[in-house]
Amino acid sequence: MTWWRQIVGRARADSELAQEIQAHIAERVDDLVERGMSSDEARRTALQEFGNPVRCLEDSRAVWLIPWLVSVGQDVRYVLRTIRRQPVFSASVVLILTLGIGLVTALFTAFNATVLQPWPVPDPSSIVVIKPRPASNERYGTLSSLEYRYFREHARSFSHLASSLGGGGSVGHSDGTMFATLQSQYVTANYFDALRIGMTIGRGFLPAEEDYGSPKAVAVISERVWLEYFASDPGVLGSPIRIGDKTVTVVGVAARGFAGVRGTIRDDLWLPLPTVATGLGAADWLRTFDNPRRTSSSQVFGRLRPGVTTEEGLAELDVLSRQFRSTHAMEAPGVRLADTRPLSADNETVRNDLPAQSLMFLALLLVMLLACANAGNLVLAKTVARRDEIAIRLSLGASRSRVARQLITEVLVLSLCAGLAALYLSATVPALLIRLHGSEISNDAHLGPDAFVFLFTLLMSIVACAFASLGPVLHVTRVAAIGSGRDRALAGPSSHRLRVSLLAMQIALSTVLLLGAALLTRAVSHAMSLDPGFAVAEVQQIALEMPRGASADALPRIRETLTTAGLPPTAFSSLRPITTARTEISVRHPNQEAEKNRRLVLRPVSAGYFGVLGIRFLTGRPFGDRVNGRELVVSESAARLLWPNDDPIGKRLVSGGSDKPPESHEIVGVVVDVPTTTLTEVEPVIYQPMHLGNVVLVRDLSPAVSARIRDLVESSVPGASSYSRPLIDEVRDSLANLVLGGRIGWVLGGLALVLAMLGAFGVFASMVEERRREIGVRMALGARGSQVVQLVLSGATRPVLAGLVAGLALSLIVTPLLRRALYGMSPFDPLAYLEIAAILLASSLAATWVPAARATRVEPAITLRGD
């Protein structure tokens, strides 16, 4: 990096020179003044004598700079000439490097978009969350909507005070087809204004849409939803979508990247706050709205006016809160303000995604290094072929460092080209990656290349250049200067060894990648073959949606209809059997204090649940099918947890705690453990009898049954609808990440393998080329074709075996990182190891076969004559 030192050094040298010239003139002036000149005259004379100082400075600088500039110019011209002379070679190097750099850059772009992008809300520091302090009888402070409205009317420190309430549910097209379960928020009309979030198309909410008297069924969707489910069709404006039992009209698409104010939870849909009160019990709910003591779980945030500090805002709200509460004779503990750190994607998301992301990053980095090693191998082969030229240049007086610099310049030019191509890839691939990755990625704010991505690509290009030119440069340092044209055999072995070790490294790295992929893929089939403890393959689950304003007896009516219709056995549950949704129950032994409560997973199900799903009873019986029954069934691990040494049958548990009156339950049965969230996560579960659930389970996959159920549902409660889905699909969904990981692994591993095999082919093809004379001599002396093939293959055996062994050893270290994703399968699965070893050996054989076959076609006569 001498050129770098030169550039930095030059800047200093220039200022030193200028100082020196000033000193010179000053000395002259002093001299002249001593001889009796006036200082003005002396200065004039001195300057005149000196001539033009700027010119002097430039001339001095040129002494250093011009030869350097000339040599750089020479290098670049030389490199461009070389590249033009060997277009196929240059194109292949660029292609290989593009592959490597492109993949890493693409992932970085996705990472940049998801993790490094700031919250898309302008001026986030002026947004504060308003948290009421808890009163003496409360655990958490609460804010009634009346108090919120009081704040909104009176607070002068805030330009906006907005409120939002969480929701969520299945969203679908108006024809009843469901497309996603999305998080939604019921918001005040000023929500988007407060955040200064504009609309990509359409409009935000109007003040009139915050009228509690007549809720308007309108919605704003996120740009992600617009892209994924409506293909960015502007026609989405004005079109109706279904959210649960409501049909609403889309009026706007929020600006790109905006995913709400809840940090890790990304919202994709916003509805006016009054619409929360449509549907079941709406009127009751609205009546409670004007009760100052009615607590709500809404979040209130505000934007401070410019120039108003958080303290001033806090002081005003504190006063307002006390005023409001004293008029309603309530305790007034005041409020506190939280900054918006919890709103922007906080560290938790980053922490959760980091292991997966960094593992992928590592894999891609490996592929990139592979690509670099491969490009290096190509360049090295070319350098070896150019040995004569290099030797001549050395003997004509070119310094070795100069020749090496030319080589590096050549690779740098190629890798910068590859970097440019990679930037293009990075603009297209990440959108694909994110799409594949699905909802896990929280914030697809910005997917184009930006300054970060640009810098990263530049860095990767330089890294690639360093890796790819390492081997060739090492080789150049060994080329003999004079007379090398004659002794080809002398320069061979060392460069060959270098290429062979690069090859071994490539084989090792592709082994690691392929093995990871093989393990993930095997883990999928392993997980699918796991016995979850229930009849996962035979059960159909049907979700019921009640119409708006359905009467309280709608669900019982449906249940009644379904149980008496002569269907195969059906069961009801409030949750799907495998779901990340979670309800808990807090229980204790009858003689214990409430503080000793344990929180366990609760599954409210109908008595038929165990039979339909085929969950086996270890002891006891199902609970009776009585409304509000006090009997419980526990899972095996729950039983072990609660009664380590006793038979749980007939024992009692007390549920409820500080917030609920205690209830006593009797244990009537113990069932085997079955997973509840994902296929492998088994937790202690308590099953409680539940009469009415909107998930219906039936042990029959035939479409006729689901059609029959739909008809029954729709005829018994007009407007109700049902969606059916095989349970096994749910299970498959829970493995989606694993399938995706395996797929990505295979693609990367396959690429790595192709690269390594191309490398192997190149190495042995050039080895055959170099040893053409030797092979010719051998054949002239009577060697048979098979012996020649053996000669080449024996050269290949060592690097392939060494690479394979090194790769397998490396895998033993790396694959335990995957353990969590393997669903209980060992990361040292011998079958996966064997599979990969076989793939690698077979493809190595194929890659060396062609050069070996070519060697047998060497014509002894021609080779010998050519010498």
Partner: protein
């Protein structure tokens, strides 16, 4: 790059004189110019504008080293010092010059035959 020098009689003369002057002791740029002028009884005037590029050339060639110091007038100046390589170069240049001079003189004042 560097312009033809009016004061220089032939290329390299300035450099030779600088080397010779510095052989007597290290000097800074202005003192160097004055010393050459004095030593030649004001017959040779150093073009100060070309002195510094010449000094840089010689620095680059390794004939001189430079170090910051203080002049007699207490001013920050760069003091140039001859290196062993520069000394050798001087000898070579003086030899070549003397041969050249002798040749030129022979032509200009032919010895009586």
């Amino acid at each position: 790059m560097s312009r033809p020098d009016r004061q220089d009689l032939f290329p390299g003369a300035l450099e030779m004189m600088v080397l010779q002057t510095l052989r007597l002791g290290p000097l800074h740029g202005y003192a160097l110019a004055q010393a050459i002028k004095r030593a030649s009884d004001d017959l040779v005037r150093v073009d100060e504008g070309s002195l510094y590029p010449a000094l840089q050339r010689m620095l680059k060639a390794g004939w001189l080293t430079a170090a910051w110091s203080v002049s007699e007038r207490n001013r920050q100046v760069r003091i140039y010092r001859l290196t062993p390589l520069g000394r050798k170069q001087l000898e070579r240049k003086v030899n070549a010059f003397e041969r050249l001079l002798a040749g030129v003189l022979k032509v200009m004042r032919p010895a009586p035959s």
